[in-house]
Symmetry: C2
Subunit: 164 residues, 2 copies
DNA sequence: TATAAAATATAGTCTTATCTAACTTTATGG
DNA sequence: CCATAAAGTTAGATAAGACTATATTTTATA
């Protein structure tokens, strides 16, 4: 049976990511752990691992070890990074609850274009490298969300010079 | 056959949105238009319309008119709004190309939590209602993306007072 | 170390969503 | 007004991804 090169489906990406995350936690990934993490039954896991194996992403010996290949690890890393970036954005920028941010990140990670991802990374970078701990505009936005109006002094700088 | 109340699948949401968008353009939606818009074959459209009808979202008479129900229109509106908000964010904030922004919006619209959506709306609102045409920080971000470094004077305000 | 329990695997079913091929209805231009 | 083209529908195939029920293997324990 030849190897399949096609892009992974969202579902298979989830399984791959699960293997990766369990490994990150220092555990040896078992079918049961994956099934618990993704809330699916074990036969679904076995089927998915078989599909991932056909795609050269994991090695899975019957009743035995589950390991990422080089390719699988790189791919899982990419997905996981996207996940973390999205979660960070939802939580830290938009101020969404941690659990909802997690949920959204978990689905959207499969659909974000590379370019969009790159720019989102830059956006977070831009915020983090601000000379202030948290940029004033971001504090203002959070104030705006909580109070329904901009804080005093927000947007009083550059442009709109008449008002300064 | 009883009506199904379950949430629509991403695929059905796409069909519903397609009907809505064609109607918005002042056209009477035809199977062929939907198939062209979504790049699927006409039998897929017919099957989807049947499923949407079972869910009380459209009325479709054989060989005849396709119309949104009240419920269908409300739902389509919600999806379309999400689409537009996402596209706006990708394009205007992140600076992603129009076609990629469209593509990402088109998939992600199906997966965004209400709360995340609400905050994204507020975020765009926050930007649009800035006393300046475009907030300084947003210009700075775009500069940062283009040039690889923050423009002079970025982040020199409030907090970090020692450096001011 | 035999056996029960836990983990894993297989077989087979169901649903969703797509397709192609073939058929039916509607629209249109001589 | 009717022949033919265009549009729409039906039937049947296929693939993915989940499930249940059952079988098999491994592990733990009495």
């Amino acid at each position: 049976m030849n190897r399949i090169t096609q892009k992974l489906s969202p579902s298979l990406e989830d399984y791959l990511e699960a293997v990766y995350r369990i490994s990150l936690n220092g555990k040896i990934p078992r079918v049961k752990d994956i099934s618990a993490l993704l809330k699916v039954k074990t036969p679904s896991v076995v089927a998915a691992l078989k599909a991932l194996e056909r795609r050269g992403m994991v090695v899975h010996e019957k009743y035995g070890y589950i390991e990422l290949t080089r390719r699988g690890e790189k791919e899982a890393e990419r997905i996981y990074k996207t996940h973390m970036v999205l979660k960070q954005f939802f939580e830290k920028v938009l101020g969404v609850d941690s659990s909802i941010a997690e949920e959204d990140a978990c689905t959207i990670e499969h659909y974000l274009n590379q370019d969009t991802f790159d720019r989102l990374v830059k956006f977070l970078e831009f915020i983090e490298t601000c000379p202030n701990q948290t940029p004033f505009w971001l504090k203002s936005f959070h104030h705006y969300v909580e109070e329904g109006e901009r804080p005093p002094g927000c947007g009083k700088r550059n442009g709109n010079k008449k008002e300064q």
